[in-house]
Symmetry: C2
């Protein structure tokens, strides 16, 4: 049985592939005080990575650097085996090409010590199919970030059928240890969670443009000046919990349940069974975590006001300019 490393013992990590996503990960790891060993087949990898880190550094500084963080604490290696040597964790961020990822993950798994976990930034493939060429797929885990990975906290973690469940929970713990918001999924679902939600909205938007029902600008305005203002603090479920008034999600489902039959999107809704109804209500109660209706409303309103003020400052001609 493998003993995975203690999080606090890890001082260096490898980034395999340093495009927008991999480079963003590298910047994030550096900001946490880690040293980064990078590999990328592109001939100007080092210059590109340097630019990505420099671009991300002001944001990372604003959010707070670890004490020993340095933007220069990285090396770029021509040889993959050399890049992953001695590291405590590997983040793979190669282009979204199944065969390429299969080969690369097999090579990485072979090159690192048997207690090193390898996270893949894939936004769509499941680890079961990506791990197919690896001799030992037990430490291969999806760790799906959001662009830009140095600013968006979310990481979705899910193992494949051959992944050691201990490696999956180690990966979740590790991402949390370095300050990420982690969702650990029990099983592989195409698109994971955030991309499924985002993709449903995106496809509905494409249909609307396709049918002349809305323009691109109207779609964006509908979100930025509408529900998008509520979502950074309270997600869509808790938002609807509040829409139900004092009666919460139960009232909301009983009152607006019939609208699930309305043609308000091209996506058919599931049957609102008693079980589904109860699951959604219980989930909202868990999330409210004892906060009263009044407290949730006060937090929502405070967030909307502050977010509107932030956005207005940035939109104004006197607002933030590009460096």
């Amino acid at each position: 049985m493998v003993t995975y490393p203690k999080f606090e013992d890890i001082s260096s990590v490898a980034c395999v592939g340093v495009g927008t996503i991999g480079g963003g990960w590298a910047a994030y790891f550096l900001s946490r005080g880690l040293s980064v060993r990078a590999w990328d087949p592109s001939p100007d990898a080092e210059a590109k990575l340097r630019r990505l880190i420099d671009a991300a550094w002001p944001a990372l500084t604003a959010l707070g650097l670890a004490e020993n963080a340095s933007r220069d604490n990285f090396t770029v290696h021509a040889d993959l085996n050399e890049a992953v040597r001695g590291v405590g964790f590997v983040q793979e961020s190669a282009p979204e090409n199944l065969e390429l990822k299969q080969d690369l993950l097999a090579r990485i798994a072979e090159a690192v010590s048997p207690e090193v976990v390898i996270g893949s930034s894939t936004s769509g493939y499941g680890m079961t199919e990506m791990a197919q060429k690896a001799e030992d797929p037990s430490r291969l885990v999806v760790g799906h970030p959001f662009n830009p990975p140095y600013l968006i906290p979310l990481v979705e973690v899910v193992g494949g059928l051959q992944t050691d469940p201990q490696a999956t929970s180690w990966a979740s713990g590790w991402y949390e240890f370095i300050g990420k918001s982690v969702i650990t999924m029990d099983r592989e679902v195409p698109g994971f969670i955030a991309n499924r939600l985002q993709e449903a909205l995106w496809r509905e938007a494409l249909h609307m443009v396709d049918n002349g029902e809305a323009t691109v600008e109207q779609i964006d305005l509908a979100i930025t000046d509408g529900p998008g203002l509520r979502w950074p603090l309270q997600g869509p479920m808790l938002t609807f919990h509040l829409a139900g008034g004092e009666g919460g999600m139960a009232h909301m489902l009983d009152h607006f349940g019939p609208s699930l039959k309305s043609p308000w999107t091209r996506l058919d809704a599931p049957e609102l069974t008693a079980t589904l109804r109860q699951d959604v209500i219980d989930g909202c109660d868990d999330e409210a975590a004892g906060r009263s209706f009044g407290e949730l409303i006060a937090q929502r309103d405070a967030a909307i006001i502050a977010v509107r003020q932030v956005v207005e400052t940035i939109r104004s001609p006197q607002g933030v300019q590009a460096k």
Copy 2:
């Protein structure tokens, strides 16, 4: 031909129905320095409205009141005809019941002067069906707000088949005049725009809960700590424009277009025809309005940092408490 009132000549408006939405509208109108005449069949309408206005007032004060704004500048009337007497605009926010709205809108249209426009807060019905009982449906327009109407700027405006197009554009101008973000739709679409997008995401979320693919809390975390952080400043379309890197939406569509065939949501995507592709690309270019890739990225990053800081303050135990 009707001459609609000048916006600056309007000093009083009527709110028909003062539940959560209508009461929120009343608070908003008061904050703009208008006087409000309210009608609601509920016996404790006045006390309820007073509570709603008092609850909204701190937020409205934080966002900035008009010079002559007063939270006491309202009257509640037992008689509908009396409530709408002499006002320059009527906002109807009755419960979401078609027959009830048809009757009420017919009565309002008959009671007001022929140059007064009537906006309906309906979140789902089209004005063509809601106006069926009105003798003169020409000034009946949908003006769909988002909860809470005193904080979320979005109002979706769309007329019915019998609405005077001048009344529709007057309504859009009026909502803009009082500080709202307005989307004027060319034709009736069930769910308008924002609710279609929101509903697609909500239905996908319900399917995921129904199938045990995600919990309520995971769904909310996926949005609040993921794409939801990007959407208050840049909507889903402009977000993907940036995901395309320097190549923008064109590169994004060519690169990720095939993922429209992936089972990343239960909603089938439209065919990515050359026309659709071009419409989306052109829309993003219009929206970027000359801002460079670097400028857009800098604005996005500044917004995400500031929004994260806002949210963290509110979430922390020292953060905002309910009043």
